[in-house]
């Protein structure tokens, strides 16, 4: 119906959220739960000093690198495990292990072994996220429709075509889930990574301001990242979703 106006809806929705926040903040202690103007002020201050751009940029670069790493490696492993029962049986305990290794442990070990550098930081984040991608894509691969695999076999599809034309389209919802919650998880781990051993980035700033209990600035940084993610969602993920599912009946 109003399919053409998704942006309008987003704006309405965000305004609603803002209103809700404002109303809740009215009665609260502003040190603890600042109202929108206070956060905006903090945001503008950080933006004017150039800190916001620098730290946000550093964080986004890390998130992007770790995301690409984790999604490619994780989905390759996940699909392989999901499609091969034997492999899965063998490596399932490893997946459970890496899935449940605390981020702190992985990050500290990475820093200690590889030094406090970007490679260790991004690698640690990727190692944290990969098992999550594996688990999601593995479920997807387990639920693959066999009849299409049979078709591909009978008509001798090449391996590339089997993946591109048969497997990946079926895994689209799992990719969508893994990438959305993936970015979010990666960003949360990047915050920890930055806390434990980087000298810039949003995580670094958030923790600094946590030491001062400056909630407004913490929120300013957090919301700046959220804003970027909203843009990514609206300008990249949503259109890609629509493209990838154009074959499904409309309004489905």
């Amino acid at each position: 119906m109003t399919r053409g106006l998704p942006l309008l809806w987003s704006v309405v929705s965000l305004l609603g959220l803002l209103g809700l926040w404002w109303v809740l903040a009215l009665g609260a202690d502003p040190r603890v739960f600042p109202a929108p103007p206070a956060v905006l002020e903090a945001l503008l201050r950080e933006a004017a000093s150039g800190d916001l751009a620098r730290h946000l940029g550093a964080t986004l670069a890390r998130v992007a690198a770790a995301f690409v790493l984790a999604l490619t490696i994780g989905s390759a492993i996940g699909i392989a495990l999901g499609m091969n029962h034997g492999l899965d049986r063998l490596f399932d305990p490893w997946v459970v292990l890496f899935l449940n290794l605390p981020a702190l442990v992985v990050i500290v070990l990475a820093y200690v072994w590889f030094g406090l550098n970007e490679v260790a930081a991004i690698g640690a984040v990727a190692v944290n996220k990969i098992p999550n991608v594996v688990v999601t894509l593995r479920e997807g691969a387990r639920a693959l429709d066999r009849s299409y695999a049979e078709l591909a076999r009978v008509y001798r599809f090449s391996f590339a075509s089997r993946m591109r034309d048969v497997v990946l389209p079926q895994l689209q919802p799992f990719f969508a889930a893994a990438s959305r919650s993936g970015i979010a998880l990666i960003w949360k781990i990047v915050l920890v990574v930055e806390l434990l051993g980087r000298s810039n980035g949003v995580g670094f700033q958030i923790h600094l301001h946590f030491q001062l209990f400056d909630v407004a600035t913490i929120l300013a940084y957090a919301l700046a990242f959220v804003a970027v993610m909203l843009l990514v969602e609206t300008l990249l993920l949503r259109p890609y979703d629509r493209y990838a599912t154009r074959w499904r009946a409309p309004h489905a």
């Binding site: 009849s147 299409y148 049979e150 078709l151 076999r153 009978v154 008509y155 001798r156 599809f157 090449s158 075509s161 034309d165 048969v166 389209p169 154009r246 074959w247 499904r248 009946a249």
Partner: protein, 237 residues
Amino acid sequence: MLEVDIASKTYPAVGGPPLLAIEGLRFSVPDGTFACLVGPSGCGKTTCLRILLGLERDFDGRTVLPGGNPRIGVAFQEPRLLPWRTVEENVRLALPKAMRARPLHDLFARLGLDGFENFYPGALSLGLARRAALARAFAVEPGLLLLDEPFVSLDEATAQDLRALLLDVWQARPTTALMVTHNLREAAQLADRIIVLSQRPGQVRGEHLIAVDRTRRTPEAVNAICAEVSARFPGLL
């Protein structure tokens, strides 16, 4: 020579005794001939085709395909198109690399699919989807055709057109064909031999060779063949 010699095929059943689908099914189809497989619902016809396609490996017995490892054109019992690829993409994907670029207009036109090339399968009627699946089977220039009830869900006029097309494809190059059907008239019209299966577990009740030349199978001739087959295999009709 297409040879089938399946001593037995059982399916494990969830929470029950295994199901014996086929027992002692033996028949063969000489190279370049056309055979029809008829038999009661659930007697193991699809299972037999699946074994020939290499999709069921857990059975007792052996099969030989004509020419060792022929390119197979298959029509599954349901259209089985990739829903996320258009009709034309579905057909082209099945083609060997060397044939990918070949023009398909004529084939689509004969199948009544013109105008639907860019439709996704979800937007096709079942009859259109079946025709797209047939287009795929025919387009690969198969050495072996395995068809599972290809002409159901089509009106008689369309079905008749497509039968003619099938014969064209089959005759264009040396092709062996094995087709499952419940339509005895259809079998009588197309086949060199009709292989009649028993109730499950499927085995061959008997074979009926049709001597009449295909060009001379008038409706009357077809009726006669049907009558003959029905007489030989009571309960078939």
